[in-house]
């Protein structure tokens, strides 16, 4: 009842029983404090499914990292096909200006809680292509949690990144934090999507979040 008059003229004349948004928010806060928060962290730590998003040549080592010799499926991580069902992006090396838009859209299509790993020297600061005219740094496109240096990083390093992310999840409980907050603080350093996707010459509005 309390917040039913949100001020928009369109919403006059509608009767609100309660503001579902605030109620849902409060319920979330309550849920996440106890064991459920811990469960979320635990489940996310052992179920880090990277989305199939190949941005550059480090993809070779990603293939090897989930291959038989290095087998990252041991940590419960399974490469999955569709962004809607995954919770991890691994940015494999250079992100070009043409690809940046796709990376961003894929990130937006994924449900919270979601994490990002940037792989390779190119994703740190351009690497060998630091003076190229067609690249962006991945940290300008999506917020990154773990960086893997190397050009290309060995598959062991990818496994290490998965373990580091698991540690972050278990010790700092970032998964449950993001569910309650529904957004990330470090998004403010990111190039806005209109700039990333502006070259497509179309009105890009893929803001599909329901909350």
């Amino acid at each position: 009842m309390s917040k039913s008059e949100k001020g928009n003229g369109e919403e006059k004349g509608k009767v609100y029983l309660a503001d579902l948004d605030t109620v849902a928010e409060e319920a979330k806060q309550m849920l996440m404090k106890g064991t459920i928060g811990k469960m979320v962290d635990w489940a996310n730590a052992f179920s880090l499914w990277p989305v199939h998003l190949m941005t550059s040549c480090c993809g070779c080592e990603i293939g090897a990292a989930w291959g038989p010799r290095f087998d990252n499926e041991r940590y419960g991580s399974l490469p999955w096909v569709s962004p809607r069902q995954t919770n991890l992006i691994i940015v494999e090396g250079t992100v070009t200006k043409k690809m940046a838009c796709s990376v961003r859209i894929t990130w937006d299509q994924m449900p919270y809680p979601k994490f990002a790993v940037a792989m390779g020297a190119c994703s740190l600061d351009g690497g060998i292509f630091y003076n190229s005219y067609n690249i962006v740094r991945p940290w300008q496109v999506i917020p990154i949690d773990v960086y893997i240096p190397g050009c290309p990083p060995r598959p062991e390093a990818v496994s290490r990144a998965i373990i580091e992310l698991q540690k972050l999840l278990r010790n700092k409980s970032i998964a449950s934090k993001w569910i309650t907050e529904s957004k990330r603080e470090d998004m403010k350093n990111i190039i806005p999507k209109e700039d990333l996707c502006g070259w497509r010459g179309e009105k890009v509005d893929l803001h599909t979040r329901f909350t």
Binding site: K97, K98, D125, Y130, N131, S132, Y133, N134, V136, R137, Q140, N189, I191, D195, G198, W199, G201
Partner: protein, 175 residues
């Protein structure tokens, strides 16, 4: 090697026979034979070379001679089906004006040149007339407008001390 040299000379002779007075100059470069023809006779020469047996294009190369104000376009062609010709690579080149770069497209003659001509178009801004599908291939329109492979587009120089200005990165909108 001596036999090879002889053969090269003989292929030069047969090229001269095929192209006759289309040739401005013919020169043995390292690894290929550079045949320079005038722009208006490019299509004619290409047709003759195709009949002679050169059936595909390996590379369409444009070089920007900014000092001379001209582009040199080279079609590196060779043969798959003719085993004798497949040992040679012919560079069919022509020189065009840098200010108004126009060139007849050869992708009707060699389909394998289609994508490569599109690529040259976007990197140099060279327009291929009669190209069936002249669109951008690799770049976004914003980057392609810079015509990046021309010599007057300069990237940041390489240096041993990489300076990273994060504030500048955040401040600039890249496109």
């Amino acid at each position: 090697m001596v036999g090879g040299e002889k053969k090269l000379i003989s292929i030069q002779d047969s090229l001269k026979n095929v192209l006759k007075d289309n040739i401005i100059s013919i020169e043995q470069a390292k690894g290929y034979i550079d045949v320079l023809v005038p722009t208006d006779k490019l299509v004619d020469s290409a047709k003759k070379l195709k009949e002679f047996g050169f059936d595909h294009v390996k590379s369409v190369t444009a070089v920007d001679y900014i000092a001379k104000k001209q582009f040199k376009i080279t079609y590196h062609i060779s043969s798959y089906l003719n085993e004798e010709l497949s040992k040679y690579i012919i560079g069919l080149s022509t020189i065009i004006n840098r200010d108004d770069p126009h060139l007849p497209s050869l992708s009707k003659i060699w389909v394998s040149a289609e994508f490569q001509e599109r690529e040259v178009y976007e990197f140099f801004g060279i327009i291929f007339d009669d190209h069936p599908d002249l669109r951008l291939l690799l770049l976004t329109p914003v980057v392609a407008a810079l015509k990046p492979l021309r010599k007057d587009f300069v990237v940041k120089e390489e240096s041993d001390n990489i300076e990273v200005d994060y504030a500048a990165y955040n401040a600039t909108k890249w496109w």
